[in-house]
Symmetry: C2
Subunit: 351 residues, 2 copies
């Protein structure tokens, strides 16, 4: 029915209210309707808090809920996690009809919530605004479908494909790119840089959105060179977590604290990605430099390349951005001009 789309659009609007606070949980919104009247809305407000369905249901009496329709952007859960299962609550509430946008992408969970509702005699409709709901939780969906984080490489290059002048911090892109990158970081659960970038640029890797879960700063420091640099912002700035992946964790014995954590790795990108997958990191924004990009590229796990380009030539003293071994055609290209700079986003065809 047409009104199903209308109410689901509202549920999506509800879901978006949780943006930047649901962290590893999806954004989910819910709307409860009876006789074409909206009785309550709800959304998942914060990682660990009530699910959207519970948030909406809790605002109504048993009488109001009876025979109502629940619109929810993601399949209700049927298992005990941080919260008791929403499917049970829905059944107990005597809701008559449940309209769902996206079925749960967890392969172990998909359809189980729906089945539980159906078994209890509830009418269930799925797939209403499924694409919009999936786009809302793009990285979450990818993570549970592919069992690894979405990986975006990000680079800022000159017209002649250089990242900067050798061994010095070189800011070639403009202030609009600066803003856009800070905005974009907020969408990812982890930012990755190498030890060279950490030492030469000394970045704080801040993001512009206020969140209780800002992206974790992951630094690949295989040889453990950073232990001599406790002055770096990664170690002194407490606003975001810093995770060091190294073959020599013993060198960092004095540097771990409430926001700095040390991980032992065998030094391969695959191992780092596996460890991040195990702790539920759903998305990586790999800022480089070129060696890190090259290493990621060679794993075949890169899903997207985001390039910012400034119309300057750095010339022969410039430091080359990474170059793949073979020709790469992107799918799903997005191009955008940011004052006198460009942003070029291209997905890899395996995605």
């Amino acid at each position: 029915m047409n009104q199903d789309y209308h109410f689901m659009d509202l549920a999506i609007q509800e879901a978006i209210k949780g943006r930047y606070q649901t962290w590893q949980n999806p954004m989910v919104g819910a709307v409860i309707v009876k006789n074409r009247q909206i009785l309550a809305t709800g959304y998942h407000q914060h990682f660990g808090d009530s699910h959207a369905e519970r948030d909406a249901i809790s605002k109504l009496t048993f009488e109001q809920l009876s025979n109502s329709t629940l619109y929810v952007t993601l399949e209700p859960c049927s298992h005990y996690g941080k919260q008791p299962p929403c499917a049970d609550l829905i059944i107990k509430s005597q809701i008559k009809r449940v309209v769902i946008a996206q079925v749960d992408p967890h392969s172990l969970v998909t359809g189980k919530g729906i089945q539980k509702l159906k078994d209890a005699g509830i009418e269930v409709v799925t797939g209403i605004r499924a694409n919009a709901a999936q786009a809302l939780n793009y990285f979450y969906t990818f993570f549970y479908q592919h069992h690894r984080p979405w990986i975006s490489l990000k680079q800022a290059i000159s017209l002649d494909h250089k990242l900067g002048l050798t061994n010095q911090r070189t800011a070639i892109t403009n202030s609009k790119v600066y803003e856009k990158v800070h905005q974009e970081r907020s969408d990812y659960q982890a930012i990755i840089i190498g030890s060279n970038t950490a030492m030469i640029d000394n970045p704080s890797l801040h993001s512009s959105q206020v969140s209780d879960y800002p992206p974790i700063r992951v630094v690949l420091d295989r040889r453990g060179r950073l232990f001599k640099r406790p002055d770096l912002k990664l170690f002194t700035d407490q606003s975001q977590a810093t995770w060091i992946f190294t073959q020599h964790p013993e060198l960092f014995s004095n540097l771990h604290n409430s926001w700095v954590k040390i991980f032992q790795t065998d030094g391969t990108i695959e191992d780092v990605v596996n460890q991040l997958t195990k702790v539920g990191i759903q998305s990586l924004y790999v800022e480089g430099g070129a060696k890190i990009h090259q290493a990621f590229w060679q794993t075949g796990l890169v899903d997207e390349l985001i390039t910012y380009q400034a119309p300057v030539l750095l010339g022969k003293d410039g430091y080359d951005a990474f170059t793949p071994d073979n020709t790469v055609l992107f799918t799903d290209l997005k191009l955008k001009q940011l004052a006198n700079n460009f942003r070029i986003e291209g997905k890899l065809s395996h995605v």
Copy 2:
């Protein structure tokens, strides 16, 4: 006076009618006005034909011309060239007032036409819409001010700064770039490529504007490798002139004809530019490849770099575009998106 600007704008509109046909002559327009009424308009229609002033004056009687005002976009000539001097004609016509946009950029001629008119008692006003008139004949003005042609390098690169795959024709840019390049070539008096490009790409180097003076195809073939390739379009396609610059003109004895001309050169870019200057070529569109670009760049004579970019990575097998020795910041940048490709135009700061 305000109406001076109005009539000069009309004269500029007249001038533009001559576009693509005036070749090494400037586009010039003229409007004759008396009592705020336009009596006649004129423009320089074709290389070798009447100048704009004569074109307009010839449409009127002596009585009409007497006490009128002439608006002309470029200082009237005072010397005998392909045409008798316009200044004399204006004086004879008893025109009372002459309004001029741009003074003649020829250093030997500047102000002489104006002086002649003033000496004859004519009121002369200059500088009305001077910038617009100068923009109209940008390359012409540059040529007479700098005594050499304006030089634009043009390249089509991938995101990783490659021109193509080694030793094969690689079209990476899209159809909008193709159209734009064909359009852009029409604005130049000569297009320059190297012998490598001639052999690998076998281009016809057509331009999209109909003109009796399409750009001359200049090929730098120092060692004289092309004499073995009479099959190339440069030799078989008669629609545009082909000029071969080589250290070995004797090799081409069988190849010169009505549209193919052979020039002896010492092999330096400076010599080629000098010879082109001597025959009055005012603008060069240097299409490359990379070695030709590098050689031009090193002369310090490059005025502009025009880059078309496609969002693909050609990878390690790609052939590098030219890279300057030092960092280059452009002035007067123009950026434009052409579907999923970009055009980046940057002038060099010495301009």
